[in-house]
Symmetry: C2
Subunit: 344 residues, 2 copies
Amino acid sequence: MRSGRVRIKDIAAEAGVSVTTVSYILNKTPTQTFSPETVKSVLDAANKLGYVPNMAAKALVSNRSHMIGVVIPQTEQHREVMFSNPFYGDFLSSVEYTARQNGYHILISGTNADQTYIGVARTRGLDGIIILGMYMEQHYDEIKKAGMPVVLVDCYVDGHDFNTVKIDDLQGGYMAAKYLLDKGHRRIAHVTGRLKERGVNQQRMYGWKKALEEAGAAYDRSLLYDGEVSYEYGVILGGRLAESFRESGVTAAFVSADIMALGLYKGLKDGGVSVPGDISVVSFDDTWIAGICDPALTVVRQDVALKGKTAVEAVLGIIDGGITEKREIILPIRIVERGSVIGK
Amino acid sequence: MRSGRVRIKDIAAEAGVSVTTVSYILNKTPTQTFSPETVKSVLDAANKLGYVPNMAAKALVSNRSHMIGVVIPQTEQHREVMFSNPFYGDFLSSVEYTARQNGYHILISGTNADQTYIGVARTRGLDGIIILGMYMEQHYDEIKKAGMPVVLVDCYVDGHDFNTVKIDDLQGGYMAAKYLLDKGHRRIAHVTGRLKERGVNQQRMYGWKKALEEAGAAYDRSLLYDGEVSYEYGVILGGRLAESFRESGVTAAFVSADIMALGLYKGLKDGGVSVPGDISVVSFDDTWIAGICDPALTVVRQDVALKGKTAVEAVLGIIDGGITEKREIILPIRIVERGSVIGK
C-alpha cells in the first residue's frame, strides 16, 4: 500500500527539526521535553508521511514485551507439532496476522515434558498466552493460579475459571449426524481422533450419539472408528470401514476433520467403496482442502481464521483492557453442502 | 523419556536445604551467595533427580535469549503469511521441533512495511534469524552489516556473504523437464509463481528452459503460465491451459509447487482436459498433498523437514560454535515417480 519505508530523517526534513528531536519525540523519551508546537509538527509530519512507530518505541512506552505465546498441541511429547493438518496452519496464519496488526509478535512452541505452558510464558516475559486444545488436568491449576492473560481455544473446562474461544462441538456433531439422518441414512459411522476427556472430538462424538439416539437409529461401539487426526489414520480407518462395508450396513460416515476425510476417501477407494455412491461423508472444519477433493466435502463449517482472530483479540482485551471477568466465546458453525452426500 | 517433572522441592528434600536456597542456586541469583558445599549438594541433587534447568537459568548463564526468529514470506505487505501452502507448515514444524530439542523457542513473523528483519530481531533480542525466501534487495546490506547470525533459506545471493540453505532449484527444474522430454514430450508448459529476481521460481524456470533448449524442443513465452503459488492460481492457470489445449499442442506441464499442481488438476478437469491422458504433470516439493490427489503426483522431491532442521542447525552452529566462514548448504533432490505422467 505504501511505496517505501519512511525514515526518521524524512520526518525531520518534513518537520524542519533535527533527527535527534524526531527520535526523542517518536520514542517518547521521558528525559526530553519539547514545546507542544514542535511535538505537533513532528507528529503531523510522521502522520503525513505514513510513518508507523516501531516495536521498540511501543515497548518503551508500555513496558510490555508485545509477545503472545501460542501453544500448539502435539500428539506425543517430544514430537513435532501438527502443522500438516491445515486447521493449524489456517489458525496460526490468522493469529500471526491479527497479532502483527496490533503490534505483537508470536512465540510458538510445542512443549517438552520438562516445560509447562506458564513456565515458558514467564521465562519469556510474554504478555499473554493462547493455548490450543489442552487436555492435561495438571495444567489447569497452574494456569488458574498464574494470573496471566490466558485464552484457551477448543478446550472444555468446567465453571468460569478461564477465558475460552470455541465452537459448540457437541452441536456440530449433532448437526452432522442429523443432516445424514434427514437424508435417510440410519447406519452412520463416526471417524475421529483420540477421544480425550474435555477435547473437541469427545464433544463431537457426543453430538453424533445424541442425534442417533433421538432418531431411534442404531448406535453401537462398532460404528466408532477412532485413531489420530491425520491423513494416514484416515486411510487406515477408511480401509477398516471398507472391509466391514457389506456386513455393517453402514451407508454414511461423519468424520471429525477434513484431513481425516481425505484419508478416508483413499482408504474407501482402495477397498472398492465409492463416495458418495456407497457411503456418504460429512466432514468437519471446512479448511481449504475440503473443496479440493472429489467429490468436494459436505462439512460442518467453522471459521478457523475467525477463531484465530478472536483468540488474539480476547487475549489483547485482557492485556490492554484489563478485562477480569471470564468470558466464553462461542463462534457460529453451519453446514456447507457439497458433493459427498446423497439421499438414501 | 523421563517419568515426571522434577520440582524444586524434590531437589530441596534431596539436598537437605530450603526451597529458596535451591531456587537461588539454580537460577544463579547474583545477589545471593552460598558455600561451595551447598552449591555442590544442590547441583548433585538436581543432577541425580534428572532436573532440567529452565530457560531463565540458561539465559542467565549464557546471556542469550534462546529465541530464533523465523521470517515467513508474504505475497503482499500487510497480508497473512502463506501457511495454506503445506510447504511452510512442514518447514515450520521441523524448525520448531529442532529448535525445541536444542532449548530454543521460535518467534514467527511476517513483516509489515515499517519493519525490517533485523529491526525485529534486535528489538526482540533474538540470538539468530532464519529468513525464508527473501527477495528485497534493500535488506541484503542491512543483514550483512548487522553481524547477527542469519541463515537464508531458498534465496539466491551472489558471493559468499551469507549462510544459506537451499536445494539446486535450477537443477530441479532441469530434472523435471528432462524427465518429461525423456518420456517423449516436446511441448512442455511451465506453471509457476511470480518469477522474482533471486527467487526459487526463477531458478526452476531457468532449468526448465535449459532442458528444452538442450533437447531442441520448442521454447516460447506462451508455454509459461505464471501467477501466485496457491491452489486458486493453479485452478486459474489450469483453466487457461485447458482453453488453449487444442491449438497449443502442449502434452505436459512442469508445475513449481504441489499446491499449484492440485489447483491445476481442478482447472484442467473443469476444462475437459485429463491428467495424465491429455497432459502429463510433474510437480515440485513432494509435500504430503502430492500423494493424495488422483493421479498421485510425480514430483521433484525435496526433503522439507530436513531443510528446516538444517536451517536451525546452521544458525545454532553460528550462535554456539562461533562459525564465521559463510557456508552454502545444498540439500539433495530426486524424482519420485507416481501416476501423473505417461509416455508419448
